[in-house]
């Protein structure tokens, strides 16, 4: 055995060490959202319990779990959309780039311009395709028609829908198919150039073909954005995500790199859920 060890040439050892360093570097991509001991109640219902989770830059983080496990609630906490429910109460800390999102000095609108969101059901505004994209920049004060034109094209290209809609930018967005509408909503979100995109089961209302297109898009987008995606579809999570968190009854059961979660989960409940034994 000892002989075999010495048989490894020096160069090879160095290379392996480098790979190790590279791997740790890769794992240590910058944290955008740092959640510590987050608890959340809807009235009396304790919906999230002691959540601790890091969301990383340029990665897709998937959140899986059965219905009612709190995964959408957690997602909506990240851009504070959850506060639209009047009875909601939270404790704990979520830091966005080192700053608490619950801090009184942070305007919630400011947070939401940096943390975009795509919803379960496509929800374009009942306006033209152009106006849908221009809406975000416009409310933030961008009025110059030429700049707007540029933003619209860039966003639609970014969501890979430009070619499909470039000849009918001024038609109503509701004339598009469901999959196109969803990509339009993603483009609408890109138009204000956020840092993070939250996606709440973005493909659950779409047919398989549109789902694939949206998944391709997500893979492209992660080069520039941190993406958090809630999904019911475990294949989807394993296909597109870098990290996966498994939620159950408002708790994070397990959170790790996606290949670890899907191949060698440490918790029995994770394994059962992934293998379709419940949920």
């Amino acid at each position: 055995m000892a002989g075999a060890m010495t048989a490894i040439p020096q160069a090879e050892v160095k290379k392996r060490a480098n790979i190790e360093v590279l791997r740790t570097l890769e794992q240590e991509k910058e944290v955008v959202f740092d959640t510590q001991n987050l608890n959340l109640w809807y009235g009396e219902k304790h919906a999230l319990r002691d959540i601790n989770l890091d969301i990383h830059e340029e990665e897709v983080t998937a959140i899986i779990g059965p219905s009612g496990c709190g995964k959408s609630t957690y997602l909506k906490t990240l851009n504070r959309m959850v506060e639209l429910v009047p009875s909601v109460r939270t404790t704990g800390v979520i830091q966005y780039k080192g700053k608490s999102i619950f801090d009184k000095s942070l305007r919630v609108e400011e947070l939401r311009t940096q943390v975009g969101m795509v919803f379960q059901k496509p929800n374009p505004f009942p306006k033209s395709i152009y106006e849908n994209i221009a809406y975000g920049p416009k409310i933030h004060g961008i009025r110059n028609k030429m700049i707007l034109d540029e933003i619209v094209e860039k966003s639609l290209r970014g969501a890979y829908i430009w070619d499909e809609v470039k000849d009918r930018l001024h038609d109503n967005a509701y004339g598009l198919s469901g999959g196109q509408q969803q990509r339009l909503c993603i483009a609408r979100c890109l138009a204000i150039e956020p840092d993070v995109i939250l996606m709440d089961e973005p493909t659950s209302a779409l047919d398989p073909k549109s789902t694939l297109k949206v998944e391709e898009l997500i893979r492209e987008l992660k080069k520039d954005y941190a993406i958090v995606i809630v999904t019911h579809n475990m294949q989807q999570a394993s296909r597109i995500s870098d990290r996966t968190a498994f939620f159950l009854d408002g708790e994070v059961v397990e959170y790790d790199r996606t290949d670890v979660i899907f191949n060698e989960p440490t918790d029995q409940r994770t394994e059962d859920y992934i293998n379709g034994r419940f949920g």
């Binding site: 851009n79 959309m81 639209l84 009047p86 609108e109 400011e110 947070l111 939401r112 311009t113 975009g116 969101m117 919803f119 059901k121 929800n123 374009p124 505004f125 009942p126 306006k127 809406y135 975000g136 416009k138 409310i139 933030h140 109503n172 509701y174 909503c185 609408r188 979100c189 204000i192």
Partner: protein, 313 residues
């Protein structure tokens, strides 16, 4: 209750029932015809009213020229040398309606925005019924409210105000139609799906931006409809203007003066003894016809606007 334990045969029971059902089936067939006749009542009534208006208006125009009627600025039906210009009445109606809308449209719309977008569920639930009570107050009450309260109040601000004037009933009519605009616009705005609000909020829009740039455009046709109903109501309003604006048939832009609306004219003439067949008597129909055409055009215009700006979702 069943005593023996024989099994139930449902099909048998049904076929037994069916035999006694034949008469019912015939009745069932007649139902659409009966309902059609009942539904026709309102249609035929409308046709009847329009027919009467038309035929009597034609009688009127045999005695007074169309040109004189629509361009005349003098209305003196009782004088030795009677003049039948309708413009003073149109002026009165339009002035009071415009004043009313200037009061009601902004207040009503802002109330609707508050109730639909900002108010908590509890406030909305107490506020809306209160509004609807306001809508249920008889107009005669508004009339003497205008005459005995608002006019004296306005006199402190505008010393030259006449005891009967068009301004005060205009304002009170505005107050009267606020609930209509607020309530109907609120309905239209509340029915805009929440998903759209969320979409805008997630882009960093404030609540006000969501209200003005997503909800109002999406609810635009409903809001226009509420305005039109309110305008129609103001044009047709009778009691308030009759009491508080007097019966001077002035053709003027001076809001402090008494003016008569089309509706108030009809009240005045029918209240007096206009002998059937006289020119005055026929002038009622001509004025009523004008009023009818006004509201009809209003409705058509509103439909056009609502359709043109409708945001489909």
């Amino acid at each position: 209750m069943r005593t023996n334990n024989e099994p139930v045969h449902v099909q048998e029971l049904i076929s037994k029932k069916k035999q006694s059902k034949n008469l019912f089936l015939k009745f069932e067939k007649a139902i659409p015809i009966i309902l059609f006749l009942i539904a026709s009542v309102s249609v035929f009534t409308t046709i009847g009213i329009i027919y009467t208006l038309f035929s009597e208006t034609i009688e009127f125009f045999k005695q007074v020229s169309v040109v004189e009627f629509f361009t005349g600025t003098v209305l003196k039906p009782l004088s030795q040398d009677p003049k039948f210009g309708v413009l003073p009445l149109i002026m009165g109606t339009l002035t009071s309606t415009v004043i009313a809308m200037l009061v009601a449209a902004p207040i009503g719309l802002m109330t609707a925005i508050y109730l639909s977008e900002f108010a908590s569920e509890r406030i909305r639930k107490t506020f809306k019924p209160l509004l609807e009570i306001l809508a249920g107050i008889p107009t005669i009450v508004y009339g003497f409210f205008a005459f005995t309260f608002v006019t004296p109040l306005l006199k402190h601000v505008i010393p030259g105000l006449e005891t009967t004037n068009i301004l005060s009933p205009g304002i009170v009519m505005g107050i009267m139609i606020i609930p209509m605009i607020a309530s109907l616009s609120e309905d239209a705005m509340s029915s805009v799906p929440n998903a759209m609000r969320e979409g805008a909020l997630a882009l960093g829009a404030t609540k006000l931006e969501v209200a003005t740039r997503v909800v109002i455009p999406a609810a635009f046709s409903g809001i226009v409809a509420s305005f039109v109903l309110a305008i129609s109501r103001a044009i047709g309003e009778t009691m308030i203007v009759t009491i508080a604006s007097g019966s001077s048939k002035n053709f003027t832009f001076d809001l402090t003066q008494s003016m008569q609306t089309m509706t108030a004219y009809i009240v005045e003439v029918t209240g007096g003894d206009a002998p059937a067949g006289s020119t005055i008597y026929y002038s009622l129909y001509a004025v009523a016809m004008t009023l009818f055409v006004f509201t009809l055009l209003m409705n058509l215009f509103a439909r056009y606007v609502a359709r043109k700006f409708k945001e489909e979702y």
